[in-house]
């Protein structure tokens, strides 16, 4: 189920959108119980949307770049008529969304067909999608393991072949971590590039919206469709749309890009290190670069996240704390108590270090770093041994992603299949602000060279 191939076949009338959606719904009905990726399946809506696509094609109209492509959205995106649960129990007592989120509406306008809503960590505050209310998302590559988070359903739904594009959000790594663990492509664009309107907020200073897919061309189609000015999002930058699909089809030789492997904090170990090294070599990187004060940026992002995240939920933390996911509640409560002086300091640090990091892009177009410290771990696991030191697993999954999103840089996470004892692991391609096209060009080169790929998990391949 590759999105750009589906769209081409639907547009050429080789297959109907209705047939594509029935096949996807059948796969979900049979297999979602194993993966627990979907929390809501909008079958009626999907059939109606597919029928509309088929009618448009029968009339000879342009059915859109994503004609008939089945997609689903992390359950914090507004879907008209569905309660936006945002991974929580509390939100599902609220009224259904009256309208689709901007990103959902954009995919729909391009002809994509919405299959439903996907499991996530409560309020997006986690890297493992071990959701206590809805159950954990199980990694299609090994159901005993996590899918990563907080967009775990968005990664797993792709690796299991339930849909061809998913929508996700990334505040500290929530697209890049599940992309790594599920072995799919994910884009966290430049901060301010895509509208967040209609997506349940987590951390206003750091929230990003982005697409995930199983190949670079499909990721580009989805990202291009999602671009556009939206006055409803006060954090969106007012910039012209910058399509990347051309960069994918035209640039199979990434050697024109100046690429460096990030060292120091971003070295990594074991399979994560090897995967990043392999990608860097394939992109012709012959230099190691140092990202300034990564640990300081990670700390700053952590403080801003905990404090702003808690602020969203303070009233519920006062009145109904027992209804929060136990994996999230105590961290939100602790975040509410962070001294304001620490958060002011964190915001100043972000700006100061961002200016220094910007100097790297005078020399390089793409910086390569691991996406996660390791491949998917076991559901329920609390600790991780890295560099001979025991660390708490859940916050540590963001060690390589958090410093980068802290300063808003665009990142395309690319999958290296079978890199860790048969499991996939992802690598971050980090770009200069607004230069997503360079990342797509590099990713297309890696895909063409066979270094990166996102095959269906073996159990779902037939």
């Amino acid at each position: 189920m590759i999105a750009h191939e589906i769209a081409a076949r639907v547009r050429a009338r080789e297959v109907s959108a209705a047939a594509v959606v029935e096949e996807a719904l059948a796969r979900i009905a049979v297999h979602n119980g194993l993966v627990n990726a979907f929390t809501d399946v909008t079958a009626e809506r999907a059939r109606a949307e597919a029928a509309a696509v088929d009618r448009a094609i029968a009339r000879g109209d342009d059915a859109g770049s994503l004609a008939g492509v089945p997609f689903a959205a992390k359950n914090l995106f507004g879907l008209a008529g569905i309660v936006t649960r945002a991974g929580s129990r509390i939100e599902r007592t609220h009224a259904p969304a009256r309208a689709d989120a901007f990103a959902v509406a954009r995919l729909r306008a391009a002809g994509a067909v919405c299959l439903g809503a996907l499991n996530m960590d409560e309020y997006a505050y986690g890297f493992t999608t071990e959701n206590t209310h809805d159950g954990p998302v199980r990694n299609p590559h090994d159901p005993a393991r996590i899918a990563g988070g907080s967009s775990g359903g968005s990664g797993a739904a792709l690796a299991a072949g339930f849909c061809a594009v998913t929508l996700a959000t990334d505040t500290n790594g929530s697209i890049r971590v599940p992309a790594s663990l599920c072995g799919v492509y994910g884009l966290k664009p430049t901060f301010g590039r895509l509208s967040r309107a209609g997506a349940y907020p987590f951390v206003a200073s750091l929230d990003h919206v982005g697409p995930m897919a199983r190949d670079v061309a499909s990721l580009a189609l989805a990202y291009d469709a999602m671009q556009g000015d939206d006055p409803a999002d006060p954090a969106q930058a007012r910039r012209p749309v910058a399509p990347v699909s051309g960069a994918v089809s035209g640039a199979l030789v990434p050697r024109t890009l100046r690429v460096a492997r990030l060292g120091g904090h971003f070295g990594g170990e074991g399979a994560a290190r090897a995967a990043a090294d392999r990608v860097a070599v394939a992109l012709g990187a012959n230099e190691e670069a140092t990202f300034p004060d990564a640990a300081v940026l990670r700390a700053a992002a952590f403080l801003v996240t905990a404090s702003e995240g808690a602020a969203v939920h303070l009233a519920d933390l006062r009145a109904r704390a027992d209804e929060f996911d136990p994996l999230v509640r105590d961290r939100l409560l602790a975040g509410a108590l962070i001294p304001a002086q620490w958060v002011h300091r964190a915001q100043k640090i972000r700006r100061e270090i961002a200016r220094r990091a910007g100097a790297l892009f005078a020399r390089f177009d793409v910086l390569v770093a691991p996406a996660t410290p390791c491949a998917a771990t076991t559901i329920g696991q609390d600790g991780l041994v890295l560099g001979g030191e025991s660390v708490p697993l859940r916050p540590h999954f963001g060690v390589f992603t958090q410093p980068v999103s802290a300063i808003g840089l665009p990142v395309l996470a690319v999958p290296v299949p079978g890199a860790a004892a048969g499991l996939p692991i992802g690598v971050q391609l980090i770009g200069a602000p607004w230069q997503e096209a360079a990342l797509f060009s590099a990713a297309a080169g890696l895909e063409a060279a066979g270094v990166c790929a996102a095959p269906l998990a073996a159990a779902f391949a037939s």
Binding site: D293, R298, A306, W342, R345
Partner: protein, 65 residues
């Protein structure tokens, strides 16, 4: 310095200031979470920040491009 005791005392009084009601069990659990905040925050708290540095309440990436 009894850091653990300090954290527990801070958590209990800051929670009261915010109108959050904690029993002993929750005070202990939140204190443990707050101790992790303190540990992860250390590099940011130790960073030699210019006294007159400006914050980034909304980060604007074009500033560094």
């Amino acid at each position: 310095m009894d850091l653990a005791g300090n954290i527990e005392a801070y958590v209990a009084s800051a929670a009261r200031m915010l109108g959050l009601e904690f029993d002993a069990e929750r005070t202990a659990a939140v204190s443990s979470a707050f101790a992790l905040v303190c540990r992860i925050a250390e590099p940011a708290l130790a960073y030699p920040l210019d006294r007159l540095a400006e914050p980034a309440p909304v980060f604007l990436p074009e500033e560094i491009a």
